[in-house]
C-alpha cells in the first residue's frame, strides 16, 4: 500500500478552484501536480484512454485502407476569453478543423498546457471545462496530455497546444495543390468574425460591438459536403491571415491564379464597420469556423446547396474562379468596378488571435 493511500480521503484539501492560483508546485511532478491533473483535467476530459493514467494513449488502428492524419496547433490567443469562445474551445476547434479540411474523420486529441505561475485556477477551470465541452460536442476525446508551469512573467496566463489524429478514407485526396483552372471557389460563411471579435476586446481599443467569434468544429459540415460532392479538390480553413492569405497559399501550391468577385464575398455589416474604423481589410482577418472549398465548376452549385443546407454553411457563397496563371496571382473584381490584386499579408499589426 502506498503512503498516499494511507491519507484519509477527506484529509486532502481539494483544489481551491475559486481563489487558488497556479504555483510552481503544479508543474513539479509531485502531489500538487497529480492533484491538478486528477481534479481538473482528468475529471473534465474523462474517457477510457485518459482514465488509464499512463504516459501515452493506446488507440485502436483505423479501418483497413484508411490512412492516419496528424495535425498540431499551438494556441496563444489574447485575451483568453472573448465573445463567442475562449482559448479552451478554440484549441479544440482549431486542430479538429485542420484534420477536417484534409477530408479526415477526427478521432482523438492530445493537449499540452503551459501555465504561468499565478494564473487563477478559476480561469483555468473555466478554460478546461470549455475545452471538454467542445471535445464532447465534437465527439473527439482528449486522450492524453501534459502540463508545465513557467515562472510568473514567462508566460501569458496559459498556452495550449493540441495535437489531433484522424482517419482518411482510401482514395480521398484533398489538398492545397489540387486546384485546377476553371474550378469554382466557395466559402462557408461570413468572413472576419473571429479576428474582429478579438480586436474589439483589446484593452486599448475597447469599442462596443456585438461581434462574436465564429469558433466552431467544422468536421460535420465537411462530412456533409463530401457526401454531396466527393470531387472536392481543396478544403482549407482561413485562420490567421484570413481568406486572402489562404487563397494565396493555395494558388502558390497549385500553381494557378484566382479571380474573385468582391460583391459576392460575405462580410457581416458590423465586421465591415469595425474593419473600416481600424483600417483593416476583412479579407485578411482571421476566421475560426469557416472554410474555403474548391471544386470542379460543374459541381459548384451542388456543393453550394449542400453547404447552405448545413447549419454551419447557411451563408455559404460562391466567390470566384481558379484561373491559369503561372504567377499565382489572386485578383479581385472590386464592387467599384476595377481590378486589383489580393496579395499575401505583409506585416499587419495584429494582436495574437489564435
Amino acid at each position: 500500500m502506498s503512503f498516499a493511500g494511507t491519507i484519509r480521503k477527506g484529509y486532502v484539501r481539494p483544489l481551491d478552484l475559486k481563489h487558488g492560483r497556479v504555483d510552481m508546485g503544479h508543474g513539479a511532478g509531485g502531489r500538487a501536480m497529480a492533484q491538478l491533473i486528477s481534479e481538473l483535467f482528468a475529471a473534465a476530459f474523462a474517457n477510457e484512454h485518459l482514465d488509464r493514467g499512463d504516459d501515452a494513449a493506446v488507440l485502436p488502428a483505423p479501418a483497413a485502407g484508411e490512412r492516419l492524419v496528424v495535425a498540431t496547433d499551438a494556441h496563444v490567443v489574447s485575451p483568453l476569453f472573448f465573445p463567442g469562445g475562449d482559448i479552451g474551445c478554440l484549441s479544440v476547434h482549431g486542430t479538429i478543423n485542420d484534420l477536417a479540411v484534409m477530408g479526415a474523420r477526427p478521432l482523438y486529441l492530445a493537449a499540452s498546457f503551459i501555465l504561468e505561475e499565478g494564473f487563477p485556477l478559476a480561469d483555468l477551470a473555466r478554460i478546461v471545462q470549455s475545452m471538454a465541452h467542445a471535445s464532447r460536442e465534437a465527439g473527439v476525446p482528449v486522450v492524453t496530455g501534459d502540463t508545465k508551469v513557467v515562472e510568473q512573467g514567462k508566460g501569458d496566463g496559459v498556452f495550449i497546444t493540441t495535437t489531433g489524429v484522424g482517419a482518411l478514407p482510401a482514395g480521398r485526396d484533398i489538398g492545397g495543390a489540387n486546384a485546377r483552372p476553371g474550378d469554382a471557389i466557395l466559402v462557408s460563411g461570413s468572413l472576419g468574425d473571429h479576428g474582429m471579435a478579438i480586436m474589439a476586446q483589446r484593452e486599448s481599443l475597447a469599442f462596443d460591438s456585438e461581434i462574436v467569434s465564429d469558433t466552431v468544429a467544422l468536421h460535420g459540415l465537411v462530412a456533409a459536403m463530401l457526401a454531396a460532392v466527393p470531387t472536392i479538390r481543396v478544403l482549407r480553413d482561413p485562420t490567421r491571415g484570413g481568406l486572402a492569405t489562404t487563397l494565396n497559399e493555395i494558388a502558390t501550391q497549385s500553381g494557378v491564379g484566382m479571380e474573385l468577385d468582391e460583391a459576392s464575398i460575405p462580410v457581416q455589416p458590423q465586421v465591415a464597420a469595425a474593419c473600416e474604423l481600424l483600417g483593416l481589410d476583412p479579407l485578411y482577418v482571421a476566421n475560426e469556423g469557416k472554410l474555403i472549398a474548391i471544386c470542379p465548376q460543374e459541381d459548384a452549385e451542388r456543393l453550394l446547396a449542400a453547404m447552405r443546407a448545413h447549419s454551419l454553411g447557411e451563408r455559404a457563397a460562391r466567390i470566384g474562379t481558379v484561373t491559369a496563371d503561372p504567377n499565382a496571382f489572386v485578383q479581385i473584381r472590386t464592387a467599384f468596378g476595377g481590378r486589383r490584386m489580393v496579395d499575401w499579408l505583409s506585416g499587419e499589426q495584429l494582436p495574437r488571435i489564435c
Binding site: T334, G338, M341
Partner: protein, 383 residues
C-alpha cells in the same frame, strides 16, 4: 455600411467613368497628382485606374507620413530606447516596421529588449505616462496637419499636469511645403519634362488647414487643385473636376469635399498648433531630401516635454540606396516599375525606399494591388 457604401457605389462609378471619358479631350494627355497616401490607397484598393480613360494618368505623391519619415529620425528613437532602459517609446502601428539603420526597425529594437509600444492616439501615450510614473514615456509623433493638433493637445495637457515623465519626439510635417518642392523641382518647372496638370488636394489635412493654402499653387503655378474626400467616388469626381478645369483653361482651388472642408479649416486646431509648435528651418523628407520650412518643432515653453531637448538627441542623415528611385517616383518623373529595385530587392517585407514602406506609398500600392498589370496576360485568364 451606411454613409460609406454610398461613396463606393459601382453603378455611380460607371456613370462618372463615362462622364470623364466623354469630357477628356482625346487629343491630349492629362497627368494629375494625388498628394495624399489616402487617395493613393483608395485608387489602388478600388481599382479606380481601370475606370479612367488611357489618357488620364495619376501620379502618386509624397503624402504618406510614414513613407517620407527619414531613417535618421527613427534611428533617434531606436538609439534612445536601446540606450536608456527606463525609456518607453510609443507610436502609431505603421511606424513600427519602418526599416532604420543597422537592420533595425522599432519592432526589431523591441525584440532586442527596447520597450516599444503601439498606441492608437496621442492621448493613449499621455495616459501611458500617467500609468507608468517610474518610466520615461516618449511619444514618437508623426503625421501631417491632421495628427498635429492631437499632439499639441497632449503637450499642453502634460504641461498643465506637470507630467515630468512624458515627452514628444516631434516629426510633424507640412503639406503645402512638400507640394511647393514638387512644383519647384526642375522636371516640373522645365515645361514638358514632367507634365503635371493639377492636384487632388488632401482630404483630412484640408479639414484642418482649409482650402485657402492651396490658392497660391493655383495662382502662382497655374495648377488646378481639387480637394477631395478619401472615398473612391470622391476621387473620380475630383478627376472629372480637374479635367474640366484643364479643358477650360482654369487653375482654381475647388472643393469636392464640402461635407468636411471649409475655406478656413479648423481655426481652433490651427490656434492650438501655433501655440505649441513653430516652424523648423529645414527638415529632411525621405525621397525629397531637405525641404525648407516643411516641419514643426516644439516651442521653447514646452521644451521640458520635447524629447529632442530632454535627451539631447542628434539627427544623423542616412542616405537611401543609390539605385532607389523614390525621389523621382514621388515627383512623377518615374513609375515604380522604372526602378531596378522594385519587386526584387525592394518589397513590402524588405522596403529599401520610402515609397515601399507603407501601403499608402506609390511602390507598395503598386506591388500589393497592381503588379499583375506588369506581366503579360495568360491566355484564358483575361476578362
Amino acid at each position: 455600411m451606411k454613409y460609406v457604401d454610398e461613396f463606393r457605389d459601382g453603378a455611380l462609378a460607371a456613370k462618372l467613368a463615362d462622364a470623364i471619358a466623354r469630357e477628356a479631350d482625346s487629343g491630349r494627355d492629362y497627368a494629375f497628382m494625388e498628394f495624399c497616401g489616402g487617395h493613393t490607397h483608395a485608387i489602388s484598393r478600388y481599382g479606380v485606374t481601370d475606370l479612367l480613360p488611357a489618357n488620364v494618368r495619376m501620379i502618386h505623391g509624397p503624402g504618406c507620413p510614414v513613407c517620407v519619415l527619414p531613417i535618421g529620425r527613427i534611428d533617434m528613437a531606436i538609439r534612445l530606447a536601446l540606450s536608456r532602459p527606463d525609456v518607453t517609446i510609443c507610436t502609431y502601428g505603421d511606424c513600427l516596421r519602418v526599416p532604420a539603420s543597422d537592420g533595425l526597425s522599432l519592432l526589431k529594437a523591441k525584440a532586442r529588449g527596447a520597450d516599444i509600444r503601439m498606441v492608437y492616439s496621442a492621448a493613449d501615450a499621455l495616459a501611458l505616462a500617467q500609468k507608468l510614473p517610474a518610466r520615461e514615456v516618449v511619444f514618437f509623433a508623426i503625421g501631417f496637419e491632421t495628427t498635429t493638433p492631437p499632439t499639441a493637445l497632449v503637450l499642453r495637457q502634460a504641461q498643465a499636469l506637470g507630467l515630468a515623465n512624458f515627452s514628444v519626439l516631434c516629426n510633424h510635417v507640412l503639406t503645402p511645403s512638400a507640394i511647393l518642392t514638387i512644383l519647384e523641382s526642375p522636371e516640373v518647372r522645365e515645361l514638358g519634362t514632367v507634365p503635371l496638370d493639377g492636384f487632388i488636394g488632401p482630404a483630412h489635412v484640408s479639414t484642418i488647414i482649409g482650402s485657402r493654402p492651396y490658392a497660391f499653387f493655383a495662382e502662382e503655378y497655374r495648377k488646378p487643385v481639387v480637394i477631395a474626400g478619401f472615398e473612391p467616388l470622391d476621387v473620380m469626381q475630383a478627376i472629372r473636376m480637374l479635367v474640366r478645369q484643364v479643358n477650360e483653361g482654369r487653375a482654381e482651388v475647388e472643393n469636392e469635399f464640402t461635407r468636411a472642408v471649409t475655406e478656413d479649416g479648423n481655426l481652433k486646431a490651427q490656434a492650438l498648433v501655433s501655440e505649441v509648435f513653430e516652424l523648423r528651418r529645414s527638415f529632411e523628407w525621405r525621397g525629397l531630401r531637405e525641404v525648407p520650412y516643411s516641419a514643426l518643432k516644439i516651442r521653447a515653453p514646452f521644451a521640458a516635454w520635447d524629447a529632442e531637448a530632454k535627451f539631447g538627441l542628434e539627427f544623423v542623415s542616412v542616405p537611401d540606396h543609390r539605385a532607389c528611385e523614390c525621389g523621382a517616383i514621388l515627383r512623377g518623373v518615374k513609375t515604380p516599375i522604372d526602378c531596378k529595385l522594385f519587386g526584387t530587392a525592394c518589397t513590402p517585407e524588405n522596403p529599401m525606399g520610402s515609397c515601399m514602406v507603407s501601403s499608402e506609398g506609390a511602390c507598395a500600392a503598386h506591388y500589393n494591388y497592381g503588379r499583375f498589370r506588369d506581366v503579360p496576360v495568360v491566355a484564358g485568364t483575361a476578362s
